[in-house]
């Protein structure tokens, strides 16, 4: 099949003709583009805000600024008035500077404090033998830091821990968090367990329950997968302690989970499920 018949000069004939054809096309192209941009721009930035500003009682300048994104709000609607102030449930927030604190905590100081202050209840190696008291060995530093901080400010209340946390300096919180997260990992308290439970419980743990809007526990409690930065590790934690926390969340007695994530979930679990999930995540060695 032959290609297009060859031409000696340009596809359009003589160079002068070519230039004429080119110019024509160039003008058409630029005109089309120009009209499109002008129409779109005028309508979007000027005409629509002009037509909408009556409803929002804005000046033309303000309406155009909103349409251009230079100011918050819609050109067509007034902004709602500012909200009332209220108290946050936890003072702990995360940004790189704050996240650095537990990571950079002085683990030597942390070891010293852990021996003096924590080991009596939480165990010499961070493994608590009392089921109602949590193990700390191998817990994430963010989780430990946040809970200590919340005990200190009263965002979380537990008589013994409140006293302990308030006796510590803020810098010490970071050191203890760093120590337990790093230094005692040799004891591998959390993380190496055989898990078994009723089929439905295992399903809630790994798939969640869509009908009740309960996400799978593992969708947050797998390190790094989801949920807030302070999400604690669960595998191998003490059963009684975990069950008590779930119940405390459900009743509202514990409310330092920002935006109520655990309160929400715990309320929708039945008491039996809370008990069984705690048993499941404790697992066996």
């Amino acid at each position: 099949m032959a290609e297009h018949p060859p031409s000696d000069q340009t596809p359009a004939g003589a160079p002068a003709e070519q230039a004429a054809v080119d110019r024509h096309w160039r003008r058409l192209a630029l005109a089309a583009v120009g009209v499109a941009v002008a129409v779109g721009g005028l309508l979007g930035f000027v005409i629509i805000p002009a037509g909408q500003r009556e409803h929002s009682h804005l000046s033309m300048d303000a309406a155009m600024r909103r349409a251009a994104g230079l100011e918050a709000g819609s050109p067509a609607h007034p902004q709602p008035p500012a909200a009332i102030n209220s108290l946050p449930v936890s003072q702990v927030s995360w940004d790189p500077a704050i996240m650095q604190r537990p990571a950079a905590g002085n683990t030597a100081r942390g070891a010293e404090l852990a021996g003096q202050v924590c080991a009596a209840c939480h165990g010499e190696t961070g493994l608590s033998v009392t089921s109602a008291i949590p193990s700390l060995a191998g817990q994430t530093s963010y989780a430990i830091y946040k809970q200590l901080h919340d005990f200190r400010t009263g965002a979380r209340v537990q008589p013994d821990m409140t006293a302990v946390a308030q006796s510590l300096a803020v810098g010490d919180l970071a050191s203890i968090a760093a120590y337990y997260a790093a230094a005692s990992q040799q004891y591998a308290a959390l993380g190496m367990r055989d898990l078994s439970g009723e089929t439905e419980i295992v399903r809630v743990a790994w798939e969640g329950d869509t009908r009740r809007r309960i996400p799978a526990c593992m969708s947050c409690h797998t390190n790094g997968v989801g949920g807030p930065i302070e999400t604690p590790a669960l595998l191998g934690q003490n059963r009684e302690y975990m069950a008590a926390q779930l119940n405390a969340y459900a009743s509202g007695a514990r409310k330092n989970d920002v935006y109520g994530r655990m309160r929400d979930i715990s309320r929708r679990l039945t008491p039996h499920e809370r008990e069984q999930l705690a048993r499941y995540f404790q697992g066996t060695l």
């Binding site: 629509i48 409803h55 709000g73 709602p80 940004d95 949920g227 935006y259």
Partner: protein, 180 residues
């Protein structure tokens, strides 16, 4: 076989181009009408808020969330976070303009409300804002419609639209769902 001359070809293409332009023009007019007659815009509230300190902010602390009546303005403030909305249930009156304001402390979420044209992304760093008027009473679904992690499938809220007479604010101007 009669094959059109080049001019005829171009002319037929231009005729078709007019039909194309007309089709597109109709859509344009529909959009402009909605913009002028109903003040409809895509949700485009360029307003910053720091996701890292969201729960410490004045506007988005826990106790401030939900439906609040301030004079004529009805604002519904919600948090979208992994993996739930807070509050899980909000109330809105039928037939009165409401403004939804949403923020995320972590990753990208998004919402729609079934049966309505409420639809917006919730991008950390910004306050998403939607102006709407609910026209029918009932319980509407407000799911998270953007992938936000493993719990995305279980993330949705309820919008309860009630008759204006049943929409009563408490002393602080707040209206909550009867049974959350």
């Amino acid at each position: 076989m009669p094959i059109a001359s080049e001019r005829d070809v171009i002319r037929s293409e231009l005729r078709w181009g007019l039909i194309t332009a007309a089709t597109v023009g109709v859509i344009f007019i529909a959009i402009l009408s909605a913009a002028f007659a109903w003040q409809m815009n895509p949700p485009s509230n360029v307003e910053f808020i720091d996701p890292k300190t969201l729960h410490l902010s004045d506007e988005f602390t826990e106790a401030n969330l939900g439906t609040q009546v301030q004079g004529d303005a009805i604002a519904i403030r919600m948090i979208a976070s992994q993996f739930a909305f807070l509050p899980r249930c909000v109330v809105a009156p039928r037939g009165r303009p409401v403004t939804l304001r949403l923020a995320s402390p972590d990753v990208i979420h998004g919402i729609l409300v079934t049966g309505t044209n409420v639809n917006t992304m919730v991008v950390p760093g910004y306050i998403s804002q939607v102006h709407t008027t609910f026209t029918k009473t009932g319980d509407l679904l407000m799911p998270c419609h953007e992938f936000c992690g493993m719990g995305h499938s279980q993330m949705w809220a309820t919008v309860r639209v009630v008759e204006p007479e049943a929409f009563k604010a408490d002393a602080q101007g707040k209206v909550a769902c009867a049974q959350p």
